[in-house]
Point group: C2
Amino acid sequence: MINTGFELPLDVLRARQNVKWAKYGADVLPAWVAEMDFSVAYPIRRAMDRLVQAQEYGYPQRDGRSADDAVATAFAARMQSRFGWSVDTDLVQPLSDLVQGTFASIWAYSNPGDKVILQLPAYPPFHESISATGRRLVPHPLKSDGTRYTLDIEGLEALVDTQTRMILLCNPQNPTGRVFDRAELTEIGRIAIERDLVIVADEIHCDLVYPGRQHIPIASISPEIAARTVTITSPTKSFNIPGLRCGVLHFGTRALRDRFHARVPARMLGSPSIAGIDATVAAWTHGQPWLDEVLVHLDANRQRLAGFLASELPAIRLHVPEATYLAWLDCSALGLETSAFDFFHDRAKVAFSPGEAFDPACRSFIRFNFATSSRILDEILGRMADAARSAGRG
Amino acid sequence: MINTGFELPLDVLRARQNVKWAKYGADVLPAWVAEMDFSVAYPIRRAMDRLVQAQEYGYPQRDGRSADDAVATAFAARMQSRFGWSVDTDLVQPLSDLVQGTFASIWAYSNPGDKVILQLPAYPPFHESISATGRRLVPHPLKSDGTRYTLDIEGLEALVDTQTRMILLCNPQNPTGRVFDRAELTEIGRIAIERDLVIVADEIHCDLVYPGRQHIPIASISPEIAARTVTITSPTKSFNIPGLRCGVLHFGTRALRDRFHARVPARMLGSPSIAGIDATVAAWTHGQPWLDEVLVHLDANRQRLAGFLASELPAIRLHVPEATYLAWLDCSALGLETSAFDFFHDRAKVAFSPGEAFDPACRSFIRFNFATSSRILDEILGRMADAARSAGRG
């Protein structure tokens, strides 16, 4: 077992105040909320140390411009260097978190009663963003071809009616870890253009893609798609800083931006803190070497998880994720009486994210966060196998 | 001259990245944006040091509850201990900044075209919150009785018509520094009740009140007033941490809260960062000894400013502020050809906030931020006097 330098030991994790390690009992290992059991990248630590050292908590500027501009500039530079996508910093709206961006976009581009298409299973706040704003969710189930989840384009086309206004797209997808390819994204774009839909693309997992796959920002595919696409992203997931609350919303055109601001004034969204801004700029500008190392480790965990399930728990089905540190486990063949979440929480003392939060039909699924140390991952896997065996479900 | 321990020297201030010291030339002394030239309170420094030390930037909890709850709890405790005001933590909505709270409240409780009453002169974002949301500003000018600015209650009553929905109240008032008394607040409340108006009370300066005056939260006066009052506040002004972005919005009743959330879903407002939360809790819970010392210093500056103007620049009229570290200077008797802002910027090399940003009719006014060291204050006052004399305006 290699010590990567960023894996935090169990005693440190247990002492944390974060919700991940605090929500469940001390005998439970948490593998739920999407946060990594790793220390943060040195450039982020340095940025935070400098902020605290200088104690400059006044109205911030960076490099002679507004601090918000620094975020937009770092975002644009990163999109160009990582994905060859040229973005205009004038079309960037800073956010405090991406759920805020989803809510605000739905608010801006649709009316109560309108329909919003969402691929299922889906990150729970996406469901909430549709229901809490009085819009109607149109479920667009991902299909399995036996080895991966795929977009059912014909199905998508058939779902669009005159009341449909938006597609809420999560790419790379949470919880399945699919990275949609150019052909899939182009088809989504075509339908959006033909049926006059706005696409809200949550691309927060864009940096967590494994070898063999490539993230393509849907707005980068064509100006016509960009003209109806709002992209929301943040370094909080890939750089493990969700508590610092900073992200961006990018409008594909000025017209789309102006339409948004006519419904949601920019100042209603507030402003990220200077801590979030400094951490974000540091992560996007100098964090990649750390992330490259983290990805090697996450990839090893991903393989370890897939291999273990195949050999020790073959009743649990997994399409190996192409991105994210999340695995979507189908436990239906275990024939459990309870939800899969309850089974593993009660019998294995492991807390996953319950499948039914992602899709009401998925109570025999769990979402497994494998961004932890090899040691803890092995302990979780061992507990799962023991629980299944002792319940006669192995 | 006493070194207070929190006054920062000129070289430190000049080296800062903040907008206050960076916006104007190196030969200009800034006395504009409402931020203090002081180091922050030790409890805030300690909270930030601990955060950075622990590097816990994940999804935060504090004391086993959500971090947002910690802010609400600290707010409730402080309102009780400082103002004898009991607030229900369930009625507290965290914000990233107070301008966000103003925009969101106007959005929630009125419609485009509706009228919003605002005492003038007023903090520029209040003007913006009304115009950018397509509402109509109804100016309610403060009156001068020769020694202080007063609320013209009869005038207020006459302004309300069937299209009037809200009163935007800033108390203590920015820029005049008035602390409205119980009689004045009770009258505002009476009118709001009789004419079915919602009051948005920005009370961010509530902690910066000088001896002889007392801040009364308008929502604390009666349950009937509370039922139509949204109070917004934050430690960012009094504890000098605006860049950390954290505040609260308090609804007087559940009904008022539910009405708000029907128009503005809570998650559209985002979340404060854990840095803002920890700093806020530290300030409100442990920051008062620091603030007590700061207030003694600010009071001395206030007296020094008033005395200097009276003896050296009697053409500049000032009603001594009862709260805030802001002074509203009427320079009309100087008979300037330019705006007062331009005159002092160009001739004295001092940057104030231009009066016309607070009221279009006030270009011969400036807002003077006197939260600086005695040394810098004296330099600013000397430059003002020299400029006035050399222009033959003294």
